[in-house]
């Protein structure tokens, strides 16, 4: 971005909003919006609290397990749908419904199935993240040029070699994009799951802070989560950039 002929770094716009927040906060218009500097100070205090640290461990663990399950199930499922027409006909409708359904409404049902604990959170992450991974993997597999598959067959590729040496690699740009979008949805899943269960991890903290009107801590936690989601998706984006060189020429 350039402004009056000067190059302005991308983060500058964020800075503008932070300053605006600080000003509005200092005007003391609404109690829910404390000044940004208070929020930052709260964040520094927050990360030193044992309750935050244990909540982070719980949340991260549920997030990671849920994501790993979503990736481990989502990629093979997407491949199956991309390669086998019957599987696509049978599952396509459901995957599309779930990927656009308001999944928060299902979390209470998960609680009945998995109880008031970590398993429900893992299930929520899984349920939020998996569908976009399935859809993107399927699209990637569909995209593969038929002559690459013929080439593998004509040189005698076994089925595992066909998948491991051709299909996974050819679909990798789409698979990574699916994982990146899945991660962002997974962050949503972990927070919504914990909010509804309300006694674990960040959900418990959010609940405590908002009930007691500790708004600066509430915002500090929100910002930490936001930063986490951004960092994770930036990491995947870097991996995507590595395979981008062939995404256009498959």
């Amino acid at each position: 971005m350039t402004l009056f002929g000067y190059r302005v770094p991308m983060m500058a716009s964020l800075l503008v909003w932070c300053v605006l927040w600080e000003i509005v906060g200092r005007l003391d218009l609404m109690f829910i919006l404390p000044p940004f500097s208070d929020v930052l100070a709260a964040a520094v205090d927050l990360v030193q609290l044992p309750s935050w640290q244990s909540a982070t461990v719980t949340t991260l663990r549920a997030f990671l397990i849920g994501m790993l399950l979503a990736i481990a199930v989502g990629i093979p499922l997407g491949m199956l749908m991309g390669r086998v027409k019957i599987a696509d006909d049978l599952l396509g409708m459901w995957v599309n419904i779930f990927s656009s359904a308001p999944l928060s409404a299902i979390v209470p049902v998960l609680m009945i199935l998995f109880g008031f604990g970590e398993n429900t959170i893992i299930a929520a992450v899984f349920l939020f993240a998996i569908w976009i991974i399935v859809l993107d993997t399927r699209a990637g597999v569909r995209h593969i040029s038929p002559s690459l598959i013929e080439m593998a067959r004509s040189y005698g590729a076994s089925r595992p070699a066909l998948y491991g040496k051709i299909i996974v690699w050819a679909a990798l740009p789409e698979i990574l994009a699916g994982i990146r979008l899945g991660l962002i949805r997974g962050v949503k899943g972990v927070v919504i799951g914990q909010l509804l269960v309300a006694i674990v991890g960040y959900g418990a903290l959010f609940e405590t802070f908002s009930r007691n009107f500790r708004m600066s801590q509430f915002w500090a936690l929100t910002i930490i989560l936001f930063a986490f989601a951004l960092v994770v998706s930036a990491l995947i984006e870097r991996a995507e950039a590595k395979v981008e060189f062939y995404a256009g020429v498959r």
Partner: protein
């Protein structure tokens, strides 16, 4: 003087002296369109045979049936006397759109056939290096396909096919996605490679000039349904300067003769 030895239908089904690929009674229908009807053909060992015809004559379908990539509705294909119905190590395919792995280097692409066979990495890379040099790509081993021109990419495809040491090379319009100058150079190289490699080539093309230029034997297919209409053996001396062939009287007469035969299929 005759430009070419033309064998007509009466003697066509006679088995050739030493046929490496024998096609018998092949028929194939695609969703109501009859692509091939009752095709009988022999491909002599060590020769370059072209399948030539207008689009829709089923020449690529026939090549893929020989490759084992497509199943025929009826009929059989035998290679070295054995019936085949799936791809096998005695045949190697060169694709019209190259079919290279874009995430792999030239060297890995060339060695890919051997990689699928489980040849050890050092051994297959040593073999691949030799063929990379043979097709004129020495120095490009560590490049990626998107860094190469169309002509160079197809050289990678050809090196990959040579690498597996198959008896029969099946080439599906290998030069159609290559620009004109590179095509000429590539055709010359193919003539040279043929004499060194002692392999059987089956070559699909829609270019009359290309077929006459490089082939020992040209099989003309007629469209809808695809059938063998004529077999021509151009009598052209290819030992000297390749540029001379384009001005050779036999060459020009054969091209003209085939064009007169194919004209009826072109609207």
């Amino acid at each position: 003087m005759r430009a070419a030895v033309v064998r007509n239908e009466a003697v066509m089904n006679e088995p050739a002296a030493d046929a490496i690929v024998e096609v018998r009674g092949i028929s194939k229908t695609y969703g109501g369109v009859e692509a091939l009807r009752d095709v009988d053909l022999d491909f002599p060992r060590g020769k370059l045979t072209s399948l030539l015809g207008p689009s829709g004559c089923g020449k690529t379908t026939l090549l893929k049936i020989i490759a084992g990539l497509i199943d025929a509705d009826r009929g059989t294909v035998a290679v070295n006397g054995k019936k085949v119905s799936a791809p096998g190590p005695e045949r190697a395919f060169v694709f019209q759109d190259f079919a290279l792995l874009p995430w792999a280097t030239v060297l890995r692409n060339v060695a890919f056939g051997l990689e699928l066979r489980g040849t050890a990495k050092e051994e297959r890379e040593a073999i691949a290096r030799r063929y990379v040099a043979d097709v004129g790509l020495a120095g490009f081993e560590d490049k990626y396909p998107h860094e190469l021109s169309g002509g160079m990419r197809q050289r990678v495809g050809l090196a990959r096919a040579l690498c597996v040491d198959a008896d029969v090379l099946l080439l599906d319009e290998p030069f159609s996605a290559v620009d004109e100058q590179n095509r000429r150079k590539f055709q010359e190289d193919l003539i040279r490679l043929r004499t060194n490699q002692n392999k059987t080539f089956i070559f699909v093309t829609h270019s009359i000039e290309e077929a006459v230029y490089i082939s020992d034997r040209i099989v003309l297919l007629s469209p809808r349904p695809g059938r063998v209409s004529r077999i021509i053996e151009p009598d052209i001396d290819r030992s000297g300067d390749p540029d001379r062939i384009h001005r050779d009287k036999h060459y020009l007469d054969t091209v003209e003769e085939i064009w007169q035969g194919l004209k009826q299929y072109v609207e």
